[in-house]
């Protein structure tokens, strides 16, 4: 099968039906391994056992931003190449990205309270992630507001590409401004500052969460294709009823 064959929704559906069970099993195995690694990981010398929140907070933050990057690439696919599956991919990614961003905010607050003495502070990192969450809600609302999916895809693609400016702001906010949030410790020039005993479980959890995202995204894309088929059939049914 050529890569361009995937542009055909029917072929894409057939492929996802074959891939999804394997992806789901791989996700469960990765989580089983990751959670056991996280369980036995040592406490941090400063933060104690609260460092265990990092094993869900960091992957959630990664996926919250990754989903927007994916939506931006899909937005280019919609605007430049008019790829049939690009807007399907963008629409399916939005609620999943929103959910992971919410997870990042909630787990971050629950980590912040014992470490910083507050659930929330309006520093650059926290505020830019909150803006990301609100942008996700805006995109979801826009998809629902415009009835024609093709027109909605173009409007959403423009908004998504404009909103992509927030991604580097989130990443570098801890370097550009004084923040309560700690600076980058995993992806940074000069290598990670985290001890391997904690870094390895974190990487396993990052892989597990990424597999979960791919599983959910493919399943949501499959649903979106089915939803568009239902919409077409409803229009055909209405046309047939009015022509009688």
């Amino acid at each position: 099968m050529r890569l361009t064959d995937l542009a055909n929704p029917s072929r894409f559906l057939a492929l996802t039906d074959r891939i999804l069970p394997w992806l789901a099993v791989a996700t469960l195995l990765a989580f089983a391994f990751g959670i056991s690694q996280a369980y036995f990981a040592p406490d941090d010398y400063q933060q104690g056992a609260t460092v265990k929140i990092m094993f869900i907070h960091v992957p959630a933050a990664w996926l919250g931003t990754f989903a927007w990057i994916l939506m931006s690439i899909a937005g280019l696919g919609t605007l430049v190449w008019r790829h049939p599956l690009a807007d399907v991919a963008a629409k399916a990614a939005a609620p999943i990205g929103a959910a992971f961003t919410l997870m990042c905010l909630v787990t971050g607050s629950l980590w912040g309270r014992p470490m910083w003495g507050t659930y929330w502070v309006w520093d650059a990192r926290l505020t830019s992630v909150l803006v990301l969450f609100l942008m996700y809600l805006g995109v979801i609302a826009l998809w629902r507001t415009i009835e024609d999916p093709t027109r909605a895809a173009r409007v959403v693609a423009v908004l998504t590409l404009v909103g992509a400016i927030n991604i580097p702001i989130i990443k570098f906010s801890v370097d550009w401004w004084n923040t309560l949030h700690q600076p980058a410790s995993v992806l940074r020039l000069g290598g990670s500052t985290i001890h391997p005993a904690i870094l390895v479980p974190l990487i396993v959890m990052l892989i597990a969460f990424t597999l979960l995202f791919l599983t959910l995204h493919l399943a949501a894309m499959r649903n979106e294709i089915m939803r568009r088929r239902v919409r077409t059939l409803l229009i055909m049914q209405a046309d047939a009823a009015t022509s009688l």
């Binding site: 959910a99 909630v106 787990t107 014992p114 959910l216 399943a219 649903n223 089915m226």
Partner: protein, 59 residues
């Protein structure tokens, strides 16, 4: 394992993460069930998309 004095925050964070993932999975599975049922109903009524009819004609 001793989670120390902040056990409540750690457990709450994991419960929140599990609840969000469970919500996502349940939503996607419910949508799949609902949409499959709708497509089956259309098929039972003999309403098919043009591409569906074309595939049938080829066969």
């Amino acid at each position: 394992m001793n989670l120390g004095p902040h056990v409540g925050f750690i457990v709450s964070a994991y419960i929140a993460a599990i609840a969000i993932v469970a919500g996502l999975v349940a939503w996607i599975m419910f949508e799949r069930w609902h949409l499959t049922r709708m497509l089956d109903e259309f098929e039972a009524q003999g309403i098919k998309r043009r591409s569906g009819r074309a595939q049938e004609d080829k066969a």
